[in-house]
């Protein structure tokens, strides 16, 4: 064999005669064993047999099976497997064809004989028997089922059930409650019913004062303290029980100020720049008469906590950034052009359609705004207040981005997860409303978190070696919003979680014991969803922090993760020039500009000389030096340098898939090399004494998904199943109307290509 290099072992399957394709067509397959796999607390609501799941455009590729609606998911169980399914990342909570109800955006029933179509909500009636069900999903998938052979009544019932159960009337009807509640019955011990309290991780959840204390220490924010006045949520309903305030503000003052802020949200400390400048988020002050006074008090307290007593700079986010409805509208348009519009027809206008969706523009606006804030902290060395009406949306994005750019700790996996806990979950981002889990109020729905992930992706894409995680991690994190069992994404604020879980516990007579709330697993407990092996897809082989090297004059220096404290100082540049009342003085805009240029501008009108603002100069200076990946990271902001996050937005689009191509192929090589380095390191350690670690331990502990092969002298070629969509697959996940009429061979073009070359090559032997 000239291709594989390794011997193909006979498998059990190879002894079986190949499946006849018409066999697939017939619905006469044994159906008795088709049973949905259920999680604890999951119950079957309705089901229909002899359902066809559309895979490609031709019905011969469709799968036959049973469509089941539970209180958690839409499940499709089939004896057939998909063609060319050589790789699959298995989800522990969801089967290959399962869709969580929370992921269903729209339920559309069709009767193509009568030419009827209806979008179903909860508690609705359907006057026709559906021949087809189309599920539009929040993660951009479009799934189709056909009922040609199914009983008309059972088809109708299952559609109505799906519609009804995907519109829960109350948060406690979200599956997470049953799931977690079930686990309280009949189990004891530390690991409460399989749910590890802290997720078994080093990720701080910031739901206790010690996490905040550590964060204060880590960032050297000695002039700040943990405030506990909101314990029991007695002051503010949307703030966490613990948060951080300037030491100069006494609890008594805070209680007094609280009433002036929206939802009694006392301004929250986010983070300290190594120079001592704090990043603070604050909601608007409702009473205009008190506004000045309160603002002044807060500002001066922040100034007092600054080592140089610098004045505070206020950054008004509502004024400078798009609002949540704008962002939602942008995503809908983006979805339209990515997965709904027919592929070929939308090619010609792709770029302008992309522009008119405004998604990329918003990504850029948020990144740019974050850079402006970084400039104030980094270059001007002043504390910054992020000002937003309710302080629960835009601030989450900006404060996270600022910290990601400035603080290398946030680019580690646990640092990043802690950051999201701190700035989204604890700060009270309304995940329940923004995800629209209850599908109650479409106006409240907004993909802020996805926008944030896209911004992070842009940074990642420009500096892939600076992050411990991969883009697969970011995509999977985004998808986890639609698996409604995680504490992370289920609630609008910590208090809502506490109240709902207390209510639920008492209604189900669950004894919470010492817990204040049901222990929903945080999404950071990744073992809930993926095996350890699959989780290695999150590890970035390029990450500097792990095996940092620096090649100089042919010698290699290795250093372990440096202390971030030390790195901090390296990002410090110069001393601040004080600001007056937070606005830039006239000198600043023109500082150090050659007077000659000013004259030139009038004379040489053709030269498109633009006024360079100080922050633009800051950016230009930054790009004129080599970037320290463990230091400050500023994104390239030119629109020409921002890209569409293809892995997320185009992963289901069959025509956009590059078979055996895409960035993943380079990642594969990197992963193998990093794995080899890890193995060599462990062998070297063996030599250096410390007892004998058996070699096979390496394979188990390897952090890399793709491992070094033991075959000598063979550069590993990318596995055939790799594609630009990896580890996702378009097969069966995007059945838009436009794809009908396209032969499956085109749909699976990778498979076809490989078939032809392999057969050709075999002929020569």
């Amino acid at each position: 064999m000239m291709f594989s290099g390794k011997q193909t072992k006979p498998t059990f399957k190879s002894y079986l005669p190949p499946l006849q394709t018409d066999l697939k067509k017939s619905p006469q397959l044994p159906i008795k064993k088709l049973e949905a796999k259920l999680l604890p607390g999951e119950i079957i609501v309705n089901e229909a047999n002899f359902v066809r799941k559309c895979i490609g455009s031709e019905s011969q590729d469709d799968l036959w099976g049973k469509l089941v609606c539970t209180n958690f998911k839409v499940s499709f169980i089939s004896h057939n497997s998909l063609p060319r399914k050589r790789f699959q990342c298995t989800h522990r909570l969801l089967g290959e064809h399962d869709i969580p109800l929370a992921c269903v955006e729209q339920v559309v029933t069709v009767n193509d004989l009568k030419g009827k179509q209806k979008i179903l909500g909860s508690n609705q009636k359907l006057k026709f028997n559906p021949t087809e069900l189309i599920l539009y999903c929040k993660d951009f998938r479009i799934i189709r089922f056909r009922f040609d052979e199914a009983g008309p009544e059972s088809a109708k019932k299952v559609c109505l059930a799906i519609a009804h159960y995907s519109h829960p009337a109350d948060p406690q009807l979200l599956f997470g409650f049953e799931y977690v509640g079930k686990r309280y019955h009949g189990s004891t011990g530390d690991r409460v019913n399989g749910v590890d309290p802290g997720g078994g991780m080093q990720t701080p959840l910031f739901d206790c004062s010690s996490d905040w204390d550590r964060e204060i220490k880590r960032t050297g924010a000695s002039e700040w303290r943990v405030c506990t006045i909101n314990q029991g949520y007695f002051i503010s309903p949307s703030l966490p029980e613990f948060f951080v305030v300037p030491v100069s503000l006494a609890d008594q003052d805070l209680k007094q100020y609280a009433c002036f802020f929206y939802s009694q949200r006392i301004p929250l400390w986010c983070w300290n720049h190594p120079s001592g400048s704090a990043l603070v988020r604050m909601s608007n002050i409702s009473d205009p008469q008190q506004q000045r006074k309160v603002e002044q008090r807060i500002s001066s307290a922040i100034t007092k906590s600054h080592p140089l007593r610098s004045d505070v700079f206020k950054s008004d986010l509502d004024k400078n950034l798009p609002n949540i409805q704008d962002i939602q509208a942008a995503l809908l348009k983006l979805r339209q052009i990515c997965v709904i519009d027919p592929f070929e027809e939308s090619e010609e206008k792709w770029l302008s359609s992309l522009e008119s969706s405004r998604w990329m523009e918003y990504v850029r606006t948020f990144l740019r705004h974050a850079v402006e804030v970084v400039y104030m902290l980094e270059s001007r060395n002043v504390p910054v207040i992020l000002l937003e009406n309710e302080d629960r949306d835009l601030s989450c994005v900006i404060s996270c981005l600022v910290q990601l750019m400035c603080d290398p700790h946030c680019r580690s996996l646990h640092g990043f997860q802690g950051l999201i806990q701190k700035e989204w979950v604890m700060a009270g981002h309304r995940f329940l409303d923004r995800c629209n889990h209850l599908k109650k109020n479409d106006k409240e729905e907004s993909p802020l978190f996805l926008l944030f992930l896209d911004c992070v992706w842009q940074l990642w894409n420009q500096y892939p070696a600076a992050f411990e995680f991969t883009e697969v991690y970011l995509a999977v994190l985004g998808d986890s919003m639609w698996v409604p069992i995680f504490s992370t994404f289920l609630f609008n604020c910590p208090r809502q979680r506490a109240e709902n879980s207390r209510d639920f516990a008492s209604s189900k007579s669950i004894h919470l014991g010492q817990d204040q709330a049901l222990r929903f697993p945080p999404v950071w407990d990744w073992s809930q969803q993926f095996s350890l092996k699959d989780q290695t897809l999150f590890n970035n082989p390029l990450y500097v922090g792990k095996i940092a090297t620096c090649v100089q004059n042919g010698t290699v220096k290795t250093f372990t993760h440096r202390r971030s404290k030390k790195n901090y100082s390296s990002t410090l540049r110069g001393l601040p020039s004080a600001l007056r009342n937070g606005s830039l003085g006239p000198n600043d805009t023109l500082a150090r500009r050659n007077s000659l240029v000013l004259r030139l501008r009038s004379d040489l009108s053709q030269v498109r000389e633009q006024q360079e603002t100080p922050s633009e100069r800051f950016i230009r200076d930054y790009f004129s030096h080599p970037v320290d990946l463990q230091g400050l990271l500023l994104p390239q902001l030119l629109p020409s340098h921002l890209s569409v996050w293809k892995l997320y937005f185009l992963r289901w689009v069959p025509e956009a898939q590059i078979p055996q191509g895409g960035p993943i192929t380079a990642f594969h090589k990197l992963s193998v090399l990093t794995d080899e380095i890890e193995m060599l390191q462990s062998q070297l350690r063996q030599y250096k004494g410390a007892g004998s670690t058996p070699n096979n331990l390496h394979a188990e502990h390897s952090k890399m998904y793709f491992k070094v092969t033991s075959t000598p002298h063979q550069t590993p070629s990318p596995p055939e199943y790799l594609s630009s969509s990896f580890p996702f697959s378009p097969v069966g996940n995007l059945c838009r109307p436009g794809i009908l009429g396209t032969p499956l061979s085109k749909f699976l073009n990778g498979a076809k290509i490989w078939l032809s070359t392999e057969t050709l090559a075999n002929e020569t032997f």
Partner: protein
């Protein structure tokens, strides 16, 4: 220096050194300000001048003109601002401002370059200072318009390898298992008598006699008959290339041409020969008016004709001009995507790529194809060479890519001299067009989609484009082989490949994984095509120049090698300590060492 670990092609975007190697050439050279001059390079004039940088400010300094380059170095500040521009890059020099112009710096020169940038200089108004420098630049940038020689003929550079030997036609045809029972090599064109824009060695159907070829030549525009470009070793399907048939308004037919195409079809038993006419259908029809045309259905019954809708050289020139408008000096920020769309640059890239995909797909399915446009030296070269790049992994190696360019572009007469206008002052010449740049862009798109499939990196593509204009090497000079022969280019100039192959490590893609039999099908969709910002927007100082992933991978490779070395040392000392013992502890790492000698 400070930028050591980054090593961009142009460390200072203000002053690109298009010859990154200049400083390491072994020959002794007189320094020019702070760069070494090339052997054969001579100073012509120095002058105090102000460089009006579009990105920051006016910079006072000195300009040095040699017979090869324009070099500028600032004198007004510590931070160096330099420009290193081969004169060949200059498309046009204009005076700006007149004697009556008021204000400082309103009097000077504007230099428009072929590589997506413009340069402005201001001079003092007194004492004819501008006239001198204008005339010198004008003369040395356009030597052919002044009865002088291109720098490539003056250069005394020496390299170990003779780059002209990279491509030996017979060797390349033998690699393709040619000649064989279906295809033969003919020397009918050894004196360029059959076709003066073709190479001397041609591969034609075995059954076609030289007499047949002469008769076919009469029916093909500029006698560019269908000849073989590439042969599929397994299914024996071929890519052949030619110019349009001379059908004309009256719809002329030619039995010999018809029979000849049928011989191509018959060679491997293809049932229907596919003729890819690169042009839009209407253009092909319009060409009838000037005596050209396309293969009609009734005349060529065993062939099917497919139009690929690729536009002509004028459309491409205008498209690139629009692209330059939105990227230089500043990137159009407010409506970037729709502005980019309105240049149609990526759309043209898409059409060229998807045309090549169709050709490659046809051939790999076992059918032979004929590719032509009007003359068969622009779009045809793009399509055949891209299809070959998809089909044949040899062309994806550093050497193979050089062979591909030498073969499909240089030897088959892509009119480099006319398209680029080397040394010619006539900047508005309608023959100029960025066809080759567009091809290199397509290659770049492929390398982006298949990051492990190419042995060479992006840097090679940029260096090729820089020297497409520089006139330092003979590689891209003249329109065809016959002209190169009569000017003794091989004897009198150095090949670009001599320079490139003198330090190949710069151009190696560390992710390269050889895969001999894989056909690459890029996705020619706007979803994946990207603007090649590191080329088109490289002069912008707000852009970061680095390839972090590639760099990082190299660092990891070095680390791996270091560990391997350490382990070997430890084993050596082990084996001296315990000579005969066969403890499993030491045996296990031993095995692994032998396994891990991966070929790097």
């Amino acid at each position: 220096m400070a930028s050591a670990p980054i090593a961009p092609y142009n460390s200072s975007p203000l002053g690109n050194s298009s010859s990154p190697n200049a400083s390491r050439e072994s020959l002794k050279m007189e320094p020019l300000a702070d760069v070494a001059m090339l052997p054969g390079e001579e100073r012509v004039i120095d002058k105090d001048i102000i460089y009006i940088c579009p990105f920051n400010a006016a910079v006072k300094g000195k300009v040095f003109i040699t017979n090869y380059r324009l070099y500028f170095k600032n004198t007004d500040s510590e931070t160096p601002v330099t420009l290193d521009v081969p004169l060949g890059v200059i498309s046009r020099v204009e005076k700006m401002g007149g004697a009556s112009s008021r204000g400082e710096n309103s009097y000077g020169l504007e230099i428009i370059c072929k590589d997506m940038r413009n340069l402005r200089f201001a001079l003092k108004q007194e004492g004819h200072s501008r006239r001198d420098i204008f005339e010198i630049i004008f003369k040395y940038a356009f030597p052919l318009s002044h009865g002088m020689q291109l720098f490539a003929f003056l250069s005394q550079e020496k390299y170990e390898e003779n780059g002209w030997n990279v491509y030996e036609p017979m060797e390349e045809y033998r690699r393709q298992v040619l000649p064989n029972s279906e295809w033969r090599v003919t020397f009918i064109n050894k004196n360029y008598e059959l076709c003066d824009t073709y190479p001397t060695i041609l591969v034609v159907p075995f059954k076609a006699t030289d007499e047949d070829l002469r008769r076919v030549a009469a029916f093909r525009s500029r006698c560019r008959i269908p000849v073989l470009s590439w042969f599929h070793k397994e299914n024996h399907a071929v890519i052949t290339r030619c110019s349009q048939p001379l059908v004309g308004m009256s719809g002329k037919r030619n039995k010999d041409d018809e029979r000849y195409l049928d011989l191509i079809r018959e060679a491997n038993g293809t049932t229907k020969l596919t003729i890819y006419d690169a042009r839009p259908n209407v253009n092909a029809v319009a060409n009838k008016a000037t005596g050209g045309g396309y293969e009609g259905d009734d005349a060529y019954q065993n062939a099917e004709l497919v139009f690929l809708d690729i536009h002509n050289i004028h459309v491409m020139r205008e498209s690139l001009k629009k692209l330059k408008d939105i990227v230089y000096p500043n990137v159009e920020e407010s409506h970037w995507l729709s502005s980019l769309e309105s240049t149609h640059w990526l759309e043209h890239i898409k059409l060229v790529l998807s045309g090549a995909i169709q050709v490659a797909d046809k051939v790999s399915s076992g059918s032979s194809v004929v590719v032509h446009c009007s003359d068969g030296w622009d779009r045809t070269a793009q399509l055949t060479s891209l299809a070959m790049l998809m089909l044949d992994s040899y062309y994806r190696t550093l050497r193979g890519f050089q062979v591909l360019l030498e073969k499909e572009w240089i030897s088959f007469g892509h009119k480099f001299a006319s398209r680029i206008g080397h040394g010619d002052k006539n900047h508005a010449d309608q023959d100029r067009s960025p066809i080759f740049l567009q091809f290199i862009d397509c290659v770049w798109q492929m390398t982006k989609q298949f990051p492990t499939a190419f042995e060479f990196n992006e840097r090679l593509l940029v260096v090729i484009l820089d020297h497409l204009y520089s006139c330092r090497f003979g590689t891209f000079l003249y329109n065809c082989e016959s002209a190169r022969d009569s000017n003794n280019v091989r004897g009198k100039t150095v090949s670009l490949w001599a320079f490139v192959n003198s330090d190949t490590s710069l151009y190696i893609n560390p992710f390269y994984t050889p895969e001999s039999s894989r056909v690459l099908y890029p996705v020619a969709s706007m979803r994946h095509l990207e603007l090649w910002v590191t080329y088109y927007i490289r002069w912008n100082p707000r852009i970061l120049h680095q390839s972090p992933v590639e760099q990082r991978y190299k660092e990891l490779l070095a680390l791996r090698d270091q560990y391997l070395k350490k382990l070997e040392e430890l084993q050596l000392s082990d084996s001296t300590h315990l000579t005969n013992s066969s403890t499993p502890n030491t045996a296990t790492p031993n095995q692994h060492i032998t396994h891990l000698q991966t070929p790097f």
